[in-house]
Amino acid sequence: MKITTQSLCGTMVKEIAAISGENVAKCYQCGKCTAACPVNMAMDILPHQVLRFLQLGLVEAVLNCNTIWICASCFTCAGRCPRGVDLPGVMEALRAILLRKRGFSRFKAGDMPRVLNKGMPEQGIVSGFRKYTK
């Protein structure tokens, strides 16, 4: 993969910025998000790399990674980011783009009673809504 003037001018980055309300240029790549992420071991690209790829306009690489689905939306990264980057918001925007393209939500409000049981942490339910609904 090569970064060129063309790839850097993609429009997709603007869409992600519009959905998330976040300017990815704020990130200076310290890697705090990755260091703090409790599920980074399962990710194919690391959270800080998601932001770097977006800064470079490499949107395809980000949309095809498993990271955005592994992300538990726990907000640890956002809580510790020295630049105040809302990375969970960016992750959500990336998922929303894919879900909107796909056209359906995996997780509907009607399904709620079925999955609700004592073993399901509340954050898991909220996270599920975040991750699998458009």
Binding site: M1, K2, I3, T4, T5, N23, A25, K26, R52, L56
Partner: protein
Amino acid sequence: MRRIGVFICWCGTNIANTVNIEGVTEAAGKMPSVIYADNYKYMCSEIGQSMIKEAIIKEKLDRVVVAACSPRMHELTFFKTAAAAGLNPYLVEIANIREHCSWVHKDKQEATGKAIALIRTAVAKAARNKELWATQIPVECRALVIGGGIGGIQAALDIADAGFEVDLVERTPSIGGRMAQLDKTFPTLDCSACILTPKMVEVASHHNITLYTFSEVEKVDGFVGNFEATIRKKARSIDLEKCTGCGICWEKCPSRVKSEFDEALVMRKAVYVPFPQAVPNVPVIDRASCRRFTREKCGICRKACPAGAVNYDQEDEVLQKKYGAIVVATGFDILDLDDFGEFSYGKHPDVLTSLEFERLVNSSGPTGGRLLRPSDQSPPKNVVFIQCVGSRDKSRGKPYCSKICCMYSAKHAILLREKYPEAQAYVFYIDIRTAGKDFEEFHRRAVEEYGALYLKGSVGKVFPDGDKLLVKGVDSLSGHAVEIEADMVVLAAAIKAKSDAPQLARLLGISTDTHSFFTEAHPKLRPVEAHTAGIFLAGACQGPKDIPETVSQASGAAAKAIILLSKDNLLSNPCVSEVNESLCTGCLSCIKVCPYGAVAEKTIEEKIHGKALKRRVAEVNEALCQGCGSCTVSCRPGAVNLKGFTNEQIMAEVDAICL
């Protein structure tokens, strides 16, 4: 029999951890002539000094040895302590048992033995110390400032405002220096000329400042408080008094040469003013390119000048001036990029240095402030900035960080976007260094508000691709290779010392580092003084610096100069050479080795067997002598002695170590 007191310092744990203090104290007490030995945790403290004072009085000590740190640190402290107790300070001797012993050794037993030997040496020397008195030297209350950039301007104004006369010598036809070439300044984006020109005008109109532009310092003799400089005022070929600065001469001049001020991006005339706000606003004739001088033809400017100010017969003027202090503010150059072929600099017109870019965005520059590509005069869309071109480069450039490039490149990225909102800046960097007030915020603004894309990594090659430049680099953060089709490439070339800095250093008798930057007397605590007393440093001639740092250092140098000039007299160092005329054979080898010109020959008359005989001997000028001791070692009959370090004292030291 002397009455010597030895005082041993622990220096906290610095000495005490490696040297057995009690053992050393006991051994010192048994040394010849030592009647008192004691130790304390911090000899330099108030309590430690009181110990010494009390012992001098109580024990009637007539010599004192302090075994502590280097004499560079605290010799003066202990001199003052002794003087306060009524003892001539030159009867105090320092044994350096820290830098020369505890810091460089690990084995306590061996270090203790060495500390004892060093103290024995100092005791042997101290026993032969004689009382010495400093003499007074008058101070010439005028200052010389070399270099008319912002550093020199600030230093001259500060010294002049303190009420002292200042001569400001500038080599080029106008003062202003590098700052005059700049468009905006980081991190406030102030217009550089707008904040500089009022100071330039102030220099020109200040009643205490005499401005010598197009002039050079050729020679400096003398010493602190009494320098004598030779200044060559090069022939301007224009009468400064008559010229009105109307500009007709340079309009009519048929010769064209590359403009130094505009970084050779445009041509200037042979008779020229470097830039519109030049001070003085009087042209000079560049005789190397003027047809009148190269071919004995032409003469148009003289015919055209309505004021009759053109004078082809003007000659260089050589002035002799006396000064008490000198401030050196000669600035910097940028690295020659011949060794960096991969960037195509010099081969493609759209590959520029940052200073050239600065001229291109400047409203007084070659494009009137419209940033256009030199190749086709079109506005650039994609501009690649490459950092650390020759900086932090041990093999082809300079190992140091040029300090200002991170910030001016962020500024350039912002200026680019302000001129052309659609343009994109790419910045290849190795590290971003923004240590300065509001610097990091400024850099982040370039990234977040002005959309500059920062790519961590180097550029391997820049080459022409149609009417564009293909830049091949890497983004090491993502691990991807990068290819950018650029319209313009801007190289942050390393800052280097002026190529003639070593010559100026020799002329002034100051030192330079391995990169020819002038060295300060102490990197932390004496950052504006040169090693030679009375000479002060300001700005990038001492190391890469931005404008606020240069101005601060210049004001610091000015303050130091003012301290010196405000004294009527200076105390001289009494440790100077003296000639024993009865031993001197008149070979005068001491004159040859003296770096300060302090030894001269004289003729004396002696009566030998009733006959009057004339004889040639050497004589030391105590005001010029710096006490280096070169003459003493060159003297074959041993007639020259350095007071405080006589041959007898040195031999006693050697004996004390060896015997």
